[in-house]
Amino acid sequence: MSDTEPRRPPLSEFAVPVASGLEEDAETAGAPPFDAATAAEITSRMREIDAAQQRAEATSRDVYLT
């Protein structure tokens, strides 16, 4: 149990689990979501998106709307 779960006594035998329909893949626990090359590409594109937002801010005081 992770420390995000509240500490309570287990439910009684009257409780029947509702299955998620998925099977856990123990081998992937803690693995990074992407390989290094893909992760670097994602980071690069995210930075480009952030940079465009920052450039938008720089001129946004000069455009007046009536």
């Binding site: 779960e5 998106i49 009536t66």
Partner: protein, 467 residues
């Protein structure tokens, strides 16, 4: 005592002109557009509801019109449109007025301000644009004791004193979010107060207009913090239609600033898809012209060049659509490349040859789950998604077959579900489906769970627009 309402037979020659003459005041253009749209939608009857205590106008009166030497009434009139003729029993004082069988179209509030008569307006899209307006919400009305409903994209015209175009655009957006997502209702005075006047020269009231910076700041203060895009300096691979349609597909109004004016995009239609003549026609609410104005070529528009695109978002959508799409595209591309399933490998090949395009839509996870059946999602997939814990808002990045999309057929071959509140420096995909496999990432355990899938046919999209 004045009668509570009048019925106007719009089939009679001169009836529309009579309304325009009575209410158009010194600035009849927008009323003319509203009346014209109601008439083309088949309005045969108008009910004029007198002494209507409209919350928005009452607020404008309290904040501004009660402070002037010239007197303005504090009550407005409201005009309701119906597709049926006036029933004779409406004039009998012995029977309650009945309207529910008269084909209710919608309403417009008429301010008693000659320079700016059009207040809150809820009229459905014109017939040729029905299905293309993605930012419609349901409003409830009570007319002489009878409840009525209308589904429309909200509209208001600026009063040119308390509100200019930017405030009107924010009001349109805020009222839509109020109706569609249950955010607090904001009145014109609330929006005027939200504008940081100290960030510009001049006085806040009468408003001389806002800068884009002030508009963005006001959006934050009203609880709809905005993404702002400078349209001549977009990230690589992004274009105005692509960004605008991403948010319109999500049912989020998009504010455009250009040529010193601002207006709100509420939908779009794709013309001649899959051909060299393919064009996006945007549908806008222009507070100085009227609702549902068609923009056939944004590059040749009256407000060209469009300079900024501003998207007020629900506060808990932390992740932009552009970032979600980068993440979802990477997930679906790498997972399909690594799969042993022939259909998944074929998906990867079509991604590489650009026969597949990615489409990103933000929506509430509950709406995603309840809509699975309508989109034709097979039970084994729907069952897993419905049981999956998700954030309140999710981005759904879909890999779509372009040709099928252009034909209007189900086109979604794979999708990635992204937590719209995820940490920007540790982004994960909550779940994804590619041919042969559905995978979930458990953020509590940092662990993946899987399920092998039988073949799934192309599915309908979560997007509200045509793609």
């Amino acid at each position: 005592m004045r009668q509570p309402a009048d019925a106007v037979d719009l089939r009679r020659p001169g009836a529309l002109y009579s309304l325009l003459h009575t209410y158009g005041g010194a600035s009849p253009q927008v009323l003319q557009a509203v009346l014209g749209q109601a008439f083309t939608q088949g309005a045969q009857t108008a009910i004029v509801e007198y002494r209507y205590l409209d919350a928005d106008y009452r607020n404008e009166h309290s904040r501004f019109y009660s402070t002037t030497f010239r007197r303005y009434p504090s009550a407005a009139d409201r005009l309701h449109f119906f597709t049926a003729p006036i029933p004779p029993e409406l004039f009998s004082p012995d029977r309650p007025a009945r309207f529910h069988r008269l084909g209710y179209l919608g309403y417009t509030v008429l301010r008693p301000v000659p320079a700016a008569p059009i207040g809150r307006t809820m009229l459905p899209p014109p017939p040729d644009l029905t299905g293309h307006v993605t930012c419609c919400a349901r409003d409830q009305i009570n007319l002489l004791g009878e409840p009525l409903e209308v589904t429309a994209a909200p509209f208001i015209a600026q009063d040119a004193q308390l509100s200019r175009c930017a405030q009107a655009a924010l009001w349109i957006t805020a009222y839509y979010h109020h109706l569609a997502h249950g955010t607090p209702r904001l009145l014109p005075g609330d929006i005027a107060v939200a504008v940081p006047a100290e960030l510009a020269l001049g006085r806040p009231v009468p408003s001389e207009g806002l800068s884009v910076f002030q508009l963005s700041a006001a959006a934050t203060r009203i609880g709809l913090p905005a993404l702002v895009y400078k349209l001549d300096d977009l990230p690589t691979g992004e274009r105005l239609p692509r960004i605008a349609c991403r948010y319109l597909n999500s049912g989020l109004p998009v504010i455009i600033a250009g040529a010193g004016h601002t207006f709100v995009l509420v939908g779009y239609r794709r013309m001649h898809p899959g051909t060299l003549q393919e064009r996006i026609h945007f549908i806008r609410h222009d507070d100085e012209v009227g609702p549902y104005q068609l923009v056939e070529n944004f590059l040749l528009d009256d407000y060209t060049p469009w300079q900024y695109l501003i998207v007020p978002l629900p506060a808990k959508v932390y992740l932009s659509g552009e970032k979600a799409e980068v993440l979802g595209e990477a997930r679906l591309t790498t997972s399909s490349a690594d799969s042993d399933n022939p259909a998944a490998r074929q998906l990867h090949d079509t991604i590489t040859t650009h026969e597949v395009s990615f489409r990103s839509t933000v929506l509430k996870s509950n709406a995603f789950k309840t809509g699975l059946e309508c989109r034709g999602v097979p039970d084994p997939v729907a069952s897993i998604y419905r049981r999956m814990p998700m954030s309140h808002w999710i981005w759904v990045v879909e890999a779509t077959d372009r040709a099928a999309r252009d034909r209007g057929d189900p086109c979604v071959l794979a999708e990635a579900i992204i937590d719209a509140t995820d940490h920007l420096r540790d982004l994960h995909v909550l779940a994804w489906r590619i041919p042969g496999e559905l995978v979930q990432w458990d953020p509590d355990e940092d662990r993946l769970s899987r399920r092998d899938l039988a073949a799934v046919p192309p599915l309908g999209s979560v997007a509200r627009g045509p793609g």
